[in-house]
């Protein structure tokens, strides 16, 4: 018998709902993105995001059910992102999901947002099964993890300061590209010289797989300041391309070194920054050189979405995970 999971995601600025069959097949995937609303503020405003989530959540869920071609009471269980993320937005999804599951007498599963990003890889790679290595890169997270089972994760490296996507946003603002930084830097970098500036590739003390991106961000800001003092014009595209190269070099070398030292033959890229074309290309190339299979989801499953929550929710549901009616949002939930 098929297991249909309704996934609900509202951890940041996307209100999303989806239905997935047996953890792999997406029957519907509805995303309401608020990005246009937050652009004028230069980043996500939690209170505005929360207000939009509560306005949209019911229509997004209803559309997901309708698009899947099912009735609400045909779902097996509800899976909802419980953290990490912004507490106000998370609470909307959690409150809605709890009441929805309760009213229908369906089980509820609380899902870790990052685990969801990893699970996005199951959708288009039916052969993918744990164990494998995953590099998760987004606006709020930079993780290198070993997925030992569907619900078991070993963190091998994480950022000590800024997330990679956060550094993208800050640099994009500094060179006048605006928000959101990731796609804008990715685009303009195609016209720039990645060797124009030599920004630092930070190593973190004695932890070979940890990341630090505040140094490269500061180096870019210093470079811009120095140019301003001297009255020099800076080439936006060169700065963007050189910054992006510095960031992707570190991400790729850490991931590949990590795979080699653990004997992993496959790396699954995940998270919002996983749709960055430079990162995808560099990782793919390094993978080919080192005999490591590189996979990543389509962009629609890289951005925050609920299909990934439904897929991860399926595996956690099958393992017996159940959330109570007192499920709370946990903004800094550990992996």
């Amino acid at each position: 018998m098929d297991t249909l999971i309704l996934g609900i995601e509202s951890s940041c600025d996307e209100t999303a709902a989806a239905v997935a069959r047996n953890g792999r097949e997406v029957l519907s995937n509805v995303i309401y993105s608020q990005i246009d609303i937050h652009t004028e503020f230069g980043g996500v405003v939690p209170e505005i995001a929360s207000r939009k989530h509560i306005e949209k959540i019911d229509s997004v869920v209803e559309k997901a059910i309708k698009d899947a071609g099912i009735f609400a009471d045909e779902i097996t269980a509800v899976a909802v992102t419980k953290g990490p993320g912004l507490v106000g937005p998370l609470l909307v999804g959690v409150s809605f999901a709890k009441a929805y599951a309760y009213a229908l007498d369906k089980p509820l599963v609380g899902v870790h947002h990052i685990r969801g990003h990893v699970a996005a890889n199951y959708i288009e790679h039916p052969e993918l099964k744990p164990p494998f290595l995953s590099l998760i890169v987004s606006g709020g997270h930079t993780h290198l993890v070993r997925v030992t089972d569907y619900d078991s994760f070993e963190v091998l490296g994480l950022t000590q300061d800024d997330a990679a996507g956060e550094a993208y946003d800050k640099v994009a603002r500094a060179i006048g590209l605006g928000y959101p930084g990731g796609p804008k830097i990715d685009k303009i970098s195609k016209e720039g010289n990645p060797e124009a500036y030599n920004f630092p590739r930070a190593k973190v003390g004695d932890s070979p797989f940890d990341f630090s991106f505040s140094g490269v961000k500061s180096a870019v800001l210093n470079q811009l300041n120095a140019a301003k003092m001297k009255g020099e014009e800076i080439n936006q595209a060169d700065v963007a391309a050189s910054f992006q190269k510095a960031v992707t070099d570190v991400l790729v070398s850490h991931a590949v070194d990590c795979a080699k030292s653990f004997g992993e033959k496959r790396i699954a890229l995940a998270g919002g920054v996983a749709s960055n074309t430079a990162l995808r290309a560099a990782l793919k190339e390094a993978g080919e050189e080192n005999g490591i299979d590189i996979i990543y989801p389509s962009p629609v499953y890289c951005t925050d979405n609920a299909a990934m929550i439904a897929c991860q929710g399926y595996y956690e549901y099958m393992k017996g995970s159940r959330a109570g009616l007192d499920l709370n949002a946990v903004p800094n939930l550990k992996l």
């Binding site: 405003v45 505005i48 929360s50 959540i57 019911d58 106000g88 909307v92 409150s95 009441a99 309760y102």
Partner: protein
């Protein structure tokens, strides 16, 4: 008609069930626990106390604001989730109306005040169960000036009372009383009753038309509006 009432707009979490004019369950708590962990268990308990099948509910009445932004959304999220699953309408009840409805037949002016921070209260005035003013966020001094014009005794209630009791005592220059603890704060019973009235007069809404009333923009929007004025 069976109505589920929910109010989590302030420090109180409150749930009530009304069935054909009878309140079959009412739960109220005012603790430091967060609504996100307490509200759904309270709803579940209300159904078991009322011995009623949750799927037989015809209407969800919920406090639509003003109030704590996060508290309102926990209530609204729960109400929407419940109503969406069962395909039933929502009655969006003003938090202030529900407070005013705790004293529907009182002599004088019923004046709920809710703590709105920034030295303001969310407030409105009621007489014979009807709202006779606008809902607004204003300072107590501004509110006092408005109340003097009615030239009637005032009944103060709401979660602003504990915080401003001394200020009222020292500065309010007309006759007044303060509501006793059991009638001081939000009650889902009043929300459910008003919700039922709304449904009967065709004012309940489909879920997609339900909107919260914050009476105040977010800080980021206020700051932007200030900048744009300059």
């Amino acid at each position: 008609m069976k109505v589920l009432g929910i109010d989590s707009s302030g420090t109180v979490a409150s749930v009530a069930i009304i069935e054909d004019g009878k309140m079959t369950a009412c739960l109220q708590s005012d603790t430091s626990y967060t609504h996100s962990t307490t509200l759904l268990p309270m709803i579940d308990k209300a159904f078991s106390m009322a011995d009623t099948d949750k799927k037989s509910i015809d209407l969800v009445a919920v406090a639509k604001g003003p109030g704590s932004f996060t508290g309102l959304r926990i209530g609204a999220g729960s109400a929407k989730g419940f109503a969406c699953a069962l395909g039933i309408p929502i009655a969006p009840v003003s938090t202030l109306d529900a407070l005013g409805y705790l004293f529907p037949f009182a002599d004088g002016i019923v004046c709920p005040i809710m703590n709105a921070r920034r030295s303001q209260v969310y407030t409105a005035c009621y007489k014979n169960g009807e709202c006779i003013s606008q809902e607004e966020a204003i300072s107590l001094d501004e509110l006092f000036e408005k109340l003097y014009q009615y030239e009637e005794k005032v009944i103060f209630l709401g979660d602003g009372v504990p915080e401003y009791k001394d200020y009222i005592k020292e500065n309010f220059k007309a006759e007044y009383v303060i509501a006793p603890p059991h009638l001081l704060k939000q009650s889902a019973g009043a929300v459910a009753c008003l919700g039922e009235r709304m449904k009967e007069s065709g004012k309940a809404v489909e879920i997609r038309d339900f909107k919260l009333t914050y009476l105040r923009k977010s800080q980021a929007e206020r700051e932007r509006d200030e900048r744009n004025k300059l």
